[in-house]
Protein backbone atom coordinates (compact mmCIF):
# COMPACT_ATOMS: atom_id res chain seq x y z
CA UNK A 1 0.00 0.00 0.00
CA UNK A 2 2.93 2.30 0.76
CA UNK A 3 6.65 2.22 0.13
CA UNK A 4 9.56 4.13 1.64
CA UNK A 5 11.31 6.43 -0.82
CA UNK A 6 14.09 6.89 1.69
CA UNK A 7 15.09 4.62 4.54
CA UNK A 8 17.51 6.97 6.26
CA UNK A 9 17.52 6.48 10.02
CA UNK A 10 17.97 3.66 12.47
CA UNK A 11 16.27 0.35 11.58
CA UNK A 12 14.30 -1.80 13.98
CA UNK A 13 12.65 -5.18 13.59
CA UNK A 14 9.01 -5.43 14.58
CA UNK A 15 6.54 -8.27 14.34
CA UNK A 16 3.19 -7.86 12.59
CA UNK A 17 0.79 -10.80 13.02
CA UNK A 18 3.69 -13.21 13.49
CA UNK A 19 5.83 -11.92 10.63
CA UNK A 20 9.06 -10.01 11.27
CA UNK A 21 9.47 -6.82 9.23
CA UNK A 22 11.91 -3.93 9.25
CA UNK A 23 10.81 -0.45 10.20
CA UNK A 24 12.58 2.87 10.68
CA UNK A 25 12.84 4.65 14.04
CA UNK A 26 10.44 7.59 14.12
CA UNK A 27 7.74 5.85 12.10
CA UNK A 28 4.35 5.19 13.62
CA UNK A 29 3.10 1.63 13.90
CA UNK A 30 0.33 2.50 11.42
CA UNK A 31 2.88 3.67 8.85
CA UNK A 32 4.98 0.53 9.33
CA UNK A 33 1.88 -1.65 8.89
CA UNK A 34 0.99 0.15 5.64
CA UNK A 35 4.54 -0.25 4.34
CA UNK A 36 4.47 -3.96 5.21
CA UNK A 37 1.50 -4.33 2.87
CA UNK A 38 -0.61 -5.70 5.69
CA UNK A 39 -3.71 -3.92 4.36
CA UNK A 40 -6.37 -3.60 7.00
CA UNK A 41 -5.44 -2.72 10.57
CA UNK A 42 -8.67 -4.04 12.07
CA UNK A 43 -12.16 -5.33 11.34
CA UNK A 44 -15.20 -3.54 12.72
CA UNK A 45 -17.21 -4.81 15.70
CA UNK A 46 -20.49 -4.08 13.86
CA UNK A 47 -20.19 -5.81 10.46
CA UNK A 48 -16.67 -7.23 10.46
CA UNK A 49 -15.69 -4.94 7.58
CA UNK A 50 -11.94 -4.38 7.07
CA UNK A 51 -10.61 -0.93 7.95
CA UNK A 52 -7.26 0.79 7.44
CA UNK A 53 -5.81 4.09 8.69
CA UNK A 54 -7.83 7.05 7.40
CA UNK A 55 -6.45 10.18 9.13
CA UNK A 56 -2.97 9.18 10.44
CA UNK A 57 -3.29 11.83 13.19
CA UNK A 58 -5.28 10.29 16.00
CA UNK A 59 -8.77 11.38 14.99
CA UNK A 60 -10.51 8.51 13.16
CA UNK A 61 -9.63 5.51 15.37
CA UNK A 62 -9.58 3.18 12.33
CA UNK A 63 -6.04 2.02 13.15
CA UNK A 64 -6.90 0.46 16.52
CA UNK A 65 -4.51 -2.48 16.95
CA UNK A 66 -3.17 -4.79 19.61
CA UNK A 67 0.32 -3.52 20.41
CA UNK A 68 2.50 -5.50 22.82
CA UNK A 69 -0.56 -7.21 24.28
CA UNK A 70 -2.61 -4.07 24.81
CA UNK A 71 -5.65 -3.87 22.50
CA UNK A 72 -7.40 -0.75 21.16
CA UNK A 73 -4.27 1.35 20.76
CA UNK A 74 -4.13 4.03 18.07
CA UNK A 75 -1.37 2.65 15.85
CA UNK A 76 -0.83 6.06 14.23
CA UNK A 77 0.02 7.57 17.64
CA UNK A 78 2.53 4.93 18.74
CA UNK A 79 6.12 4.92 17.45
CA UNK A 80 7.80 1.64 16.52
CA UNK A 81 10.25 0.18 19.04
CA UNK A 82 12.57 -2.84 18.66
CA UNK A 83 10.78 -6.16 19.02
CA UNK A 84 7.32 -4.63 19.14
CA UNK A 85 4.54 -7.18 18.64
CA UNK A 86 1.58 -5.90 16.64
CA UNK A 87 -1.64 -7.71 15.88
CA UNK A 88 -4.60 -6.79 13.77
CA UNK A 89 -7.70 -6.37 15.89
CA UNK A 90 -10.78 -8.40 14.96
CA UNK A 91 -14.02 -6.76 16.05
CA UNK A 92 -14.31 -5.27 19.53
CA UNK A 93 -11.41 -5.48 21.95
CA UNK A 94 -11.77 -7.82 24.90
CA UNK A 95 -10.84 -6.99 28.48
CA UNK A 96 -7.54 -8.39 29.61
CA UNK A 97 -5.86 -9.20 26.33
CA UNK A 98 -5.89 -9.61 22.59
CA UNK A 99 -9.16 -10.27 20.85
Amino acid sequence: MMHRRNTAGERVTINIDGKNVEAVVGESVAAAVLAAGAGATRTTPVSGAPRAPYCMMGVCFECLMDIDGIPNRQACMVSVTPGMKIKRQAGARTVGGAS
Binding site: G9, G39, A40
Partner: protein
Protein backbone atom coordinates in the same frame (compact mmCIF):
# COMPACT_ATOMS: atom_id res chain seq x y z
CA UNK B 1 -3.03 19.68 45.43
CA UNK B 2 -1.50 17.72 42.62
CA UNK B 3 2.18 16.95 42.54
CA UNK B 4 2.76 19.18 39.54
CA UNK B 5 1.74 22.81 39.32
CA UNK B 6 2.74 25.57 36.94
CA UNK B 7 1.55 28.93 35.68
CA UNK B 8 0.53 27.79 32.22
CA UNK B 9 -0.24 24.49 30.55
CA UNK B 10 -0.13 24.66 26.75
CA UNK B 11 -1.80 21.80 24.90
CA UNK B 12 -0.43 21.01 21.45
CA UNK B 13 3.03 21.55 19.92
CA UNK B 14 2.07 22.88 16.49
CA UNK B 15 2.94 26.44 15.44
CA UNK B 16 0.38 28.04 17.80
CA UNK B 17 1.26 25.94 20.85
CA UNK B 18 5.04 26.19 20.41
CA UNK B 19 4.92 29.97 19.95
CA UNK B 20 2.46 30.41 22.84
CA UNK B 21 4.68 28.38 25.17
CA UNK B 22 7.83 30.26 24.18
CA UNK B 23 6.13 33.66 24.54
CA UNK B 24 4.66 32.87 27.96
CA UNK B 25 8.02 31.51 29.18
CA UNK B 26 9.83 34.62 27.94
CA UNK B 27 7.41 36.70 30.03
CA UNK B 28 8.55 34.86 33.15
CA UNK B 29 5.79 32.26 33.48
CA UNK B 30 6.46 28.61 34.26
CA UNK B 31 5.16 26.62 31.29
CA UNK B 32 4.39 22.96 30.67
CA UNK B 33 3.73 22.01 27.05
CA UNK B 34 1.82 18.77 26.52
CA UNK B 35 1.76 17.13 23.10
CA UNK B 36 0.29 13.89 21.86
CA UNK B 37 3.01 13.35 19.27
CA UNK B 38 6.54 12.18 20.03
CA UNK B 39 8.07 15.14 18.17
CA UNK B 40 7.28 18.86 18.10
CA UNK B 41 5.70 20.44 15.01
CA UNK B 42 2.03 19.51 15.03
CA UNK B 43 0.64 18.24 11.74
CA UNK B 44 1.83 21.13 9.56
CA UNK B 45 5.47 20.86 10.70
CA UNK B 46 5.27 17.17 11.43
CA UNK B 47 8.71 15.63 12.09
CA UNK B 48 10.43 18.74 10.66
CA UNK B 49 13.47 18.51 12.97
CA UNK B 50 13.98 14.80 12.21
CA UNK B 51 13.57 15.33 8.46
CA UNK B 52 16.18 18.10 8.57
CA UNK B 53 18.55 15.77 10.46
CA UNK B 54 18.08 12.43 8.68
CA UNK B 55 16.94 13.31 5.13
CA UNK B 56 17.53 17.01 4.50
CA UNK B 57 16.90 16.66 0.75
CA UNK B 58 13.23 16.04 1.59
CA UNK B 59 12.97 19.63 2.86
CA UNK B 60 13.09 20.68 -0.80
CA UNK B 61 10.33 18.24 -1.70
CA UNK B 62 8.15 19.39 1.20
CA UNK B 63 8.79 23.05 0.48
CA UNK B 64 10.10 26.19 2.21
CA UNK B 65 6.85 26.71 4.16
CA UNK B 66 7.41 23.33 5.83
CA UNK B 67 11.13 23.88 6.40
CA UNK B 68 10.35 27.21 8.10
CA UNK B 69 8.71 25.25 10.93
CA UNK B 70 12.18 24.14 11.99
CA UNK B 71 12.88 27.63 13.33
CA UNK B 72 9.96 27.49 15.77
CA UNK B 73 11.08 24.05 16.96
CA UNK B 74 14.54 25.52 17.66
CA UNK B 75 12.93 28.37 19.65
CA UNK B 76 11.05 25.79 21.68
CA UNK B 77 14.21 23.76 22.32
CA UNK B 78 16.02 26.88 23.54
CA UNK B 79 13.28 28.05 25.92
CA UNK B 80 12.91 27.06 29.58
CA UNK B 81 9.80 24.94 29.16
CA UNK B 82 8.80 21.52 30.46
CA UNK B 83 7.78 19.60 27.34
CA UNK B 84 5.79 16.39 27.72
CA UNK B 85 5.82 14.61 24.37
CA UNK B 86 3.75 11.48 23.86
CA UNK B 87 1.20 12.60 26.44
CA UNK B 88 -2.50 12.52 25.59
CA UNK B 89 -4.79 14.98 27.36
CA UNK B 90 -8.00 13.20 28.36
CA UNK B 91 -9.69 15.84 30.51
CA UNK B 92 -9.47 19.55 31.21
CA UNK B 93 -11.26 20.83 34.28
CA UNK B 94 -12.65 24.35 34.39
CA UNK B 95 -10.36 25.12 37.34
CA UNK B 96 -7.31 24.62 35.11
CA UNK B 97 -6.40 21.06 36.03
CA UNK B 98 -5.23 19.18 32.96
CA UNK B 99 -5.34 15.39 33.02
CA UNK B 100 -3.08 13.44 30.71
CA UNK B 101 -1.42 10.07 30.26
CA UNK B 102 1.76 8.78 28.63
CA UNK B 103 0.04 5.49 27.84
CA UNK B 104 1.14 3.77 31.05
CA UNK B 105 0.37 6.22 33.85
CA UNK B 106 -2.16 9.04 34.12
CA UNK B 107 -1.37 12.28 35.90
CA UNK B 108 -2.76 15.73 36.50
CA UNK B 109 -1.13 19.14 36.24
CA UNK B 110 -2.70 22.17 37.88
CA UNK B 111 -2.21 25.44 36.06
CA UNK B 112 -3.35 29.00 36.63
CA UNK B 113 -3.97 29.26 32.88
CA UNK B 114 -4.54 26.81 30.05
CA UNK B 115 -3.73 27.65 26.43
CA UNK B 116 -5.32 25.14 24.09
CA UNK B 117 -3.62 24.81 20.72
CA UNK B 118 -5.06 21.52 19.55
CA UNK B 119 -5.36 22.70 15.96
CA UNK B 120 -7.50 21.29 13.23
CA UNK B 121 -8.56 18.03 11.68
CA UNK B 122 -9.51 17.39 8.09
CA UNK B 123 -13.23 17.55 7.41
CA UNK B 124 -14.50 13.98 7.11
CA UNK B 125 -15.54 13.29 3.50
CA UNK B 126 -18.44 10.82 3.53
CA UNK B 127 -18.75 9.39 0.02
CA UNK B 128 -19.92 5.88 -0.93
CA UNK B 129 -17.04 3.49 -0.22
CA UNK B 130 -14.98 5.85 1.95
CA UNK B 131 -14.55 3.22 4.67
CA UNK B 132 -12.63 0.87 2.35
CA UNK B 133 -8.93 0.24 3.01
CA UNK B 134 -6.92 2.30 0.51
CA UNK B 135 -9.02 5.41 1.17
CA UNK B 136 -7.50 8.07 3.39
CA UNK B 137 -7.37 11.81 3.68
CA UNK B 138 -4.92 13.83 1.60
CA UNK B 139 -3.45 15.03 4.89
CA UNK B 140 -2.86 11.42 5.97
CA UNK B 141 -0.78 10.82 2.84
CA UNK B 142 1.15 13.99 3.57
CA UNK B 143 1.77 12.88 7.17
CA UNK B 144 3.16 9.59 5.81
CA UNK B 145 5.43 11.53 3.45
CA UNK B 146 6.66 13.89 6.17
CA UNK B 147 7.01 11.47 9.07
CA UNK B 148 8.02 8.28 7.27
CA UNK B 149 9.10 9.23 3.70
CA UNK B 150 6.30 7.00 2.45
CA UNK B 151 4.61 7.18 -0.94
CA UNK B 152 1.53 5.22 -2.09
CA UNK B 153 2.13 2.15 -4.28
CA UNK B 154 0.13 1.86 -7.49
CA UNK B 155 -2.31 4.31 -9.04
CA UNK B 156 -3.51 7.23 -6.89
CA UNK B 157 -6.65 9.38 -7.28
CA UNK B 158 -7.46 12.54 -5.35
CA UNK B 159 -10.90 14.05 -4.80
CA UNK B 160 -12.20 17.21 -3.15
CA UNK B 161 -11.27 20.87 -3.16
CA UNK B 162 -8.94 23.38 -1.63
CA UNK B 163 -5.25 24.23 -1.33
CA UNK B 164 -4.21 21.01 0.45
CA UNK B 165 -5.65 18.86 -2.36
CA UNK B 166 -3.34 20.35 -4.99
CA UNK B 167 -0.38 20.62 -2.63
CA UNK B 168 -0.51 16.93 -1.69
CA UNK B 169 -1.04 15.90 -5.33
CA UNK B 170 2.02 17.90 -6.33
CA UNK B 171 4.21 16.64 -3.48
CA UNK B 172 3.27 13.02 -4.14
CA UNK B 173 3.91 13.49 -7.86
CA UNK B 174 7.37 14.87 -7.10
CA UNK B 175 7.93 11.95 -4.74
CA UNK B 176 7.27 9.51 -7.58
CA UNK B 177 3.62 8.57 -7.05
CA UNK B 178 1.47 7.51 -10.02
CA UNK B 179 -1.24 10.20 -9.85
CA UNK B 180 -4.09 9.25 -12.20
CA UNK B 181 -6.52 12.11 -11.54
CA UNK B 182 -7.37 15.10 -9.36
CA UNK B 183 -11.17 15.46 -9.24
CA UNK B 184 -12.33 18.84 -7.96
CA UNK B 185 -15.75 19.81 -6.62
CA UNK B 186 -15.27 23.55 -7.10
CA UNK B 187 -17.96 25.00 -9.40
CA UNK B 188 -18.31 28.14 -11.49
CA UNK B 189 -20.75 29.42 -8.87
CA UNK B 190 -18.04 29.08 -6.21
CA UNK B 191 -15.76 31.29 -8.31
CA UNK B 192 -18.53 33.88 -8.56
CA UNK B 193 -19.14 33.77 -4.81
CA UNK B 194 -15.41 34.11 -4.13
CA UNK B 195 -14.77 36.94 -6.62
CA UNK B 196 -15.81 39.79 -4.26
CA UNK B 197 -13.12 38.59 -1.81
CA UNK B 198 -10.27 38.66 -4.33
CA UNK B 199 -9.20 42.22 -3.60
CA UNK B 200 -9.08 41.61 0.13
CA UNK B 201 -6.84 38.59 -0.45
CA UNK B 202 -4.11 40.59 -2.18
CA UNK B 203 -1.98 41.08 0.96
CA UNK B 204 -1.65 37.27 0.96
CA UNK B 205 -1.14 37.01 -2.79
CA UNK B 206 1.80 34.63 -2.32
CA UNK B 207 -0.75 31.90 -1.52
CA UNK B 208 -2.63 32.66 -4.75
CA UNK B 209 0.59 32.47 -6.75
CA UNK B 210 1.44 29.17 -5.12
CA UNK B 211 -1.95 27.71 -5.99
CA UNK B 212 -1.58 28.73 -9.63
CA UNK B 213 1.95 27.27 -9.76
CA UNK B 214 0.78 23.95 -8.29
CA UNK B 215 -2.01 23.65 -10.85
CA UNK B 216 0.38 24.47 -13.71
CA UNK B 217 2.95 21.95 -12.49
CA UNK B 218 0.40 19.14 -12.23
CA UNK B 219 -1.00 19.87 -15.68
CA UNK B 220 2.48 20.07 -17.21
CA UNK B 221 3.17 16.60 -15.80
CA UNK B 222 0.06 15.30 -17.56
CA UNK B 223 -2.09 14.83 -14.45
CA UNK B 224 -5.76 15.30 -15.44
CA UNK B 225 -7.51 17.86 -13.23
CA UNK B 226 -11.21 17.28 -13.80
CA UNK B 227 -14.51 18.60 -12.44
CA UNK B 228 -16.60 16.41 -10.14
CA UNK B 229 -19.36 18.76 -8.95
CA UNK B 230 -21.79 15.89 -8.32
CA UNK B 231 -19.34 13.89 -6.24
CA UNK B 232 -17.72 10.50 -6.53
CA UNK B 233 -18.09 6.96 -5.35
CA UNK B 234 -15.31 4.59 -4.47
CA UNK B 235 -15.30 1.16 -6.03
CA UNK B 236 -14.05 -2.03 -4.43
CA UNK B 237 -15.18 -4.72 -2.00
CA UNK B 238 -12.33 -5.61 0.36
CA UNK B 239 -10.29 -2.55 -0.64
CA UNK B 240 -10.51 0.42 -2.97
CA UNK B 241 -9.96 -0.32 -6.65
CA UNK B 242 -11.25 2.80 -8.38
CA UNK B 243 -12.73 6.28 -8.18
CA UNK B 244 -15.97 6.79 -10.13
CA UNK B 245 -17.00 10.32 -11.05
CA UNK B 246 -20.77 10.74 -10.66
CA UNK B 247 -22.51 12.43 -13.60
CA UNK B 248 -23.64 12.04 -17.18
CA UNK B 249 -20.12 11.64 -18.50
CA UNK B 250 -18.85 9.95 -15.36
CA UNK B 251 -15.72 7.88 -15.82
CA UNK B 252 -13.97 5.50 -13.48
CA UNK B 253 -10.29 5.92 -12.71
CA UNK B 254 -8.34 2.91 -11.53
CA UNK B 255 -6.81 3.66 -8.11
CA UNK B 256 -5.46 1.65 -5.19
CA UNK B 257 -5.04 4.75 -3.05
CA UNK B 258 -7.78 7.36 -2.95
CA UNK B 259 -7.14 10.60 -1.10
CA UNK B 260 -10.01 12.81 0.08
CA UNK B 261 -9.83 16.50 1.01
CA UNK B 262 -12.59 19.01 1.73
CA UNK B 263 -10.78 21.53 3.88
CA UNK B 264 -9.92 21.43 7.56
CA UNK B 265 -12.06 22.25 10.58
CA UNK B 266 -11.18 23.18 14.18
CA UNK B 267 -10.61 20.31 16.57
CA UNK B 268 -13.28 21.23 19.12
CA UNK B 269 -13.36 18.12 21.34
CA UNK B 270 -11.59 19.82 24.26
CA UNK B 271 -13.32 23.20 23.87
CA UNK B 272 -16.73 21.49 23.91
CA UNK B 273 -15.69 19.36 26.90
CA UNK B 274 -14.85 22.60 28.73
CA UNK B 275 -18.33 23.95 27.81
CA UNK B 276 -16.84 27.06 26.18
CA UNK B 277 -19.03 29.29 24.03
CA UNK B 278 -18.99 28.23 20.36
CA UNK B 279 -20.30 29.73 17.12
CA UNK B 280 -21.08 28.27 13.69
CA UNK B 281 -19.01 29.29 10.65
CA UNK B 282 -21.62 29.70 7.92
CA UNK B 283 -19.32 29.58 4.86
CA UNK B 284 -17.16 26.65 5.99
CA UNK B 285 -19.78 24.80 8.04
CA UNK B 286 -17.85 24.21 11.25
CA UNK B 287 -17.98 25.05 14.96
CA UNK B 288 -15.36 27.29 16.54
CA UNK B 289 -14.95 28.48 20.11
CA UNK B 290 -15.36 32.26 20.28
CA UNK B 291 -12.20 34.15 21.31
CA UNK B 292 -10.85 37.69 21.38
CA UNK B 293 -7.63 38.69 19.62
CA UNK B 294 -5.55 37.31 22.51
CA UNK B 295 -7.37 34.00 22.43
CA UNK B 296 -9.38 34.64 25.60
CA UNK B 297 -12.47 32.41 25.76
CA UNK B 298 -15.68 32.45 27.79
CA UNK B 299 -13.64 30.99 30.70
CA UNK B 300 -11.23 33.56 32.22
CA UNK B 301 -8.38 31.06 32.73
CA UNK B 302 -8.64 29.34 29.32
CA UNK B 303 -7.15 30.71 26.09
CA UNK B 304 -7.15 29.19 22.61
CA UNK B 305 -4.55 29.83 19.90
CA UNK B 306 -4.39 28.76 16.28
CA UNK B 307 -6.69 26.76 14.03
CA UNK B 308 -8.56 25.34 17.02
CA UNK B 309 -10.32 28.71 17.20
CA UNK B 310 -11.03 28.95 13.46
CA UNK B 311 -9.08 28.06 10.32
CA UNK B 312 -6.50 30.67 9.32
CA UNK B 313 -3.45 28.52 8.52
CA UNK B 314 0.01 27.92 10.00
CA UNK B 315 1.47 31.43 9.77
CA UNK B 316 -1.58 32.98 11.39
CA UNK B 317 -1.50 30.21 14.01
CA UNK B 318 2.06 31.06 15.05
CA UNK B 319 1.07 34.73 15.39
CA UNK B 320 -2.02 33.74 17.39
CA UNK B 321 0.23 31.68 19.66
CA UNK B 322 2.35 34.72 20.46
CA UNK B 323 -0.80 36.76 21.11
CA UNK B 324 -2.19 34.11 23.48
CA UNK B 325 1.16 34.00 25.31
CA UNK B 326 1.00 37.77 25.77
CA UNK B 327 -2.67 37.61 26.77
CA UNK B 328 -1.89 35.08 29.49
CA UNK B 329 1.17 37.03 30.65
CA UNK B 330 -1.09 40.04 31.17
CA UNK B 331 -3.87 38.03 32.83
CA UNK B 332 -1.25 36.53 35.19
CA UNK B 333 -0.12 40.03 36.16
CA UNK B 334 3.33 39.73 34.61
CA UNK B 335 2.90 42.56 32.08
CA UNK B 336 0.67 45.62 31.90
CA UNK B 337 -2.10 45.99 29.36
CA UNK B 338 -0.04 48.69 27.67
CA UNK B 339 3.03 46.43 27.41
CA UNK B 340 0.88 43.58 26.11
CA UNK B 341 -0.68 45.77 23.45
CA UNK B 342 2.69 47.18 22.41
CA UNK B 343 4.30 43.75 22.09
CA UNK B 344 1.22 42.43 20.27
CA UNK B 345 1.43 44.92 17.38
CA UNK B 346 3.75 42.94 15.05
CA UNK B 347 1.83 39.71 15.67
CA UNK B 348 -1.52 41.36 15.00
CA UNK B 349 -0.07 42.62 11.71
CA UNK B 350 1.31 39.16 10.84
CA UNK B 351 -2.00 37.52 11.65
CA UNK B 352 -3.93 40.05 9.61
CA UNK B 353 -1.68 39.55 6.59
CA UNK B 354 -1.79 35.75 6.70
CA UNK B 355 -5.54 35.66 7.38
CA UNK B 356 -6.33 37.99 4.46
CA UNK B 357 -6.60 34.97 2.13
CA UNK B 358 -9.28 33.21 4.20
CA UNK B 359 -12.51 34.92 3.04
CA UNK B 360 -11.51 34.10 -0.55
CA UNK B 361 -10.66 30.46 0.26
CA UNK B 362 -13.72 30.05 2.49
CA UNK B 363 -16.01 31.03 -0.40
CA UNK B 364 -14.05 29.41 -3.23
CA UNK B 365 -13.84 26.02 -1.51
CA UNK B 366 -17.09 25.45 0.42
CA UNK B 367 -17.87 21.84 1.31
CA UNK B 368 -20.38 20.79 -1.37
CA UNK B 369 -23.95 19.72 -0.55
CA UNK B 370 -23.30 16.06 -1.39
CA UNK B 371 -20.66 15.99 1.36
CA UNK B 372 -22.65 18.03 3.92
CA UNK B 373 -25.82 15.97 3.48
CA UNK B 374 -24.88 12.71 1.75
CA UNK B 375 -27.28 10.24 0.07
CA UNK B 376 -29.21 7.89 2.34
CA UNK B 377 -26.96 4.88 1.71
CA UNK B 378 -23.68 6.63 2.60
CA UNK B 379 -22.09 5.79 5.97
CA UNK B 380 -21.52 8.91 8.05
CA UNK B 381 -20.61 7.34 11.42
CA UNK B 382 -17.70 5.06 10.59
CA UNK B 383 -17.38 3.57 14.08
CA UNK B 384 -20.97 2.38 14.42
CA UNK B 385 -21.59 2.07 10.65
CA UNK B 386 -24.59 4.42 10.62
CA UNK B 387 -25.82 5.83 7.29
CA UNK B 388 -27.13 9.30 6.49
CA UNK B 389 -30.54 7.69 5.81
CA UNK B 390 -30.66 6.21 9.32
CA UNK B 391 -29.99 9.66 10.77
CA UNK B 392 -32.83 11.12 8.66
CA UNK B 393 -35.18 8.33 9.79
CA UNK B 394 -34.30 8.95 13.44
CA UNK B 395 -34.98 12.66 12.96
CA UNK B 396 -38.40 11.79 11.46
CA UNK B 397 -39.12 9.54 14.45
CA UNK B 398 -38.58 12.54 16.71
CA UNK B 399 -34.89 12.72 17.64
CA UNK B 400 -34.47 16.49 17.99
CA UNK B 401 -30.66 16.76 17.98
CA UNK B 402 -27.30 14.97 18.02
CA UNK B 403 -27.46 13.96 21.68
CA UNK B 404 -30.85 12.30 21.40
CA UNK B 405 -29.62 10.59 18.23
CA UNK B 406 -27.11 8.67 20.33
CA UNK B 407 -29.98 6.85 22.07
CA UNK B 408 -31.58 6.03 18.70
CA UNK B 409 -28.52 4.87 16.76
CA UNK B 410 -25.31 4.99 18.86
CA UNK B 411 -23.93 7.46 16.28
CA UNK B 412 -21.06 9.33 17.91
CA UNK B 413 -20.65 6.72 20.66
CA UNK B 414 -17.87 4.64 19.08
CA UNK B 415 -14.14 5.04 19.73
CA UNK B 416 -13.78 8.32 17.78
CA UNK B 417 -16.41 9.94 20.03
CA UNK B 418 -18.07 11.84 17.19
CA UNK B 419 -14.94 13.33 15.64
CA UNK B 420 -15.86 11.77 12.28
CA UNK B 421 -19.67 12.06 12.22
CA UNK B 422 -20.29 15.14 14.39
CA UNK B 423 -20.51 17.74 11.62
CA UNK B 424 -22.49 15.42 9.29
CA UNK B 425 -25.04 14.72 12.02
CA UNK B 426 -25.52 18.44 12.67
CA UNK B 427 -26.07 19.22 8.97
CA UNK B 428 -28.42 16.29 8.31
CA UNK B 429 -30.52 16.95 11.42
CA UNK B 430 -30.65 20.69 10.76
CA UNK B 431 -32.03 20.07 7.26
CA UNK B 432 -34.44 17.38 8.50
CA UNK B 433 -35.92 19.72 11.10
CA UNK B 434 -35.70 22.93 9.05
CA UNK B 435 -33.47 24.53 11.67
CA UNK B 436 -30.06 26.15 11.66
CA UNK B 437 -26.99 24.19 12.85
CA UNK B 438 -26.72 26.60 15.80
CA UNK B 439 -30.27 25.65 16.86
CA UNK B 440 -29.55 21.92 16.45
CA UNK B 441 -26.36 22.04 18.55
CA UNK B 442 -23.45 19.62 18.83
CA UNK B 443 -22.61 16.36 20.56
CA UNK B 444 -22.01 16.89 24.28
CA UNK B 445 -18.37 15.89 24.73
CA UNK B 446 -17.42 14.28 28.01
CA UNK B 447 -14.12 13.02 29.41
CA UNK B 448 -12.11 11.01 28.71
CA UNK B 449 -11.36 12.91 25.50
CA UNK B 450 -9.41 9.86 24.38
CA UNK B 451 -9.91 6.37 25.76
CA UNK B 452 -7.54 5.38 28.54
CA UNK B 453 -7.21 2.11 30.40
CA UNK B 454 -8.14 1.45 34.01
CA UNK B 455 -4.48 0.48 34.52
CA UNK B 456 -3.40 4.01 33.50
CA UNK B 457 -5.90 5.49 35.96
CA UNK B 458 -4.94 3.08 38.74
CA UNK B 459 -1.28 4.05 38.32
CA UNK B 460 -2.03 7.67 39.28
CA UNK B 461 -0.24 8.95 42.35
CA UNK B 462 -2.30 8.86 45.56
CA UNK B 463 -2.03 12.59 46.16
CA UNK B 464 -3.68 13.38 42.85
CA UNK B 465 -7.19 14.79 43.24
CA UNK B 466 -10.09 12.75 41.92
CA UNK B 467 -11.23 13.87 38.44
Amino acid sequence: MSEQACDVVVIGAGPAGMRAAVTAANEGLSVTLIDEQTEAGGQIYRAVARVARTRPADLTLLGPEYAAGGDIVLELDAADITVLHGHTVWQISQDGTVWCSDGTKAKSITARFVIMASGAQERPVPVPGWTLPGVMTAGAAQILLKSAAMVPDGPVALYGSGPLLLLVADQLLSAGADIRVVAETTTFKDYLNAAPHLLGALPASKYLKKGIALRRHLKAAGVPIIKAPNGVSIEGTERATGLRIIGKHGQTFEAETILLQQGVVPNTQASWQLRLDHAWHAAQHYWYPTTDRFGATSLANVFIAGDGAGIFGAEAAAAAGALAGLGVAHAAGNISAAARDQKALPFIALHKKAAAIRPLLDHLFPPPAHILVPDDATIICRCEEITAGQVRDAAKLGAPGPNQLKAFLRAGMGPCQGRMCGLSVVEIMARAHGKSPAEIGAYRIRPPLKPLSLAELAAMDDDTPTP
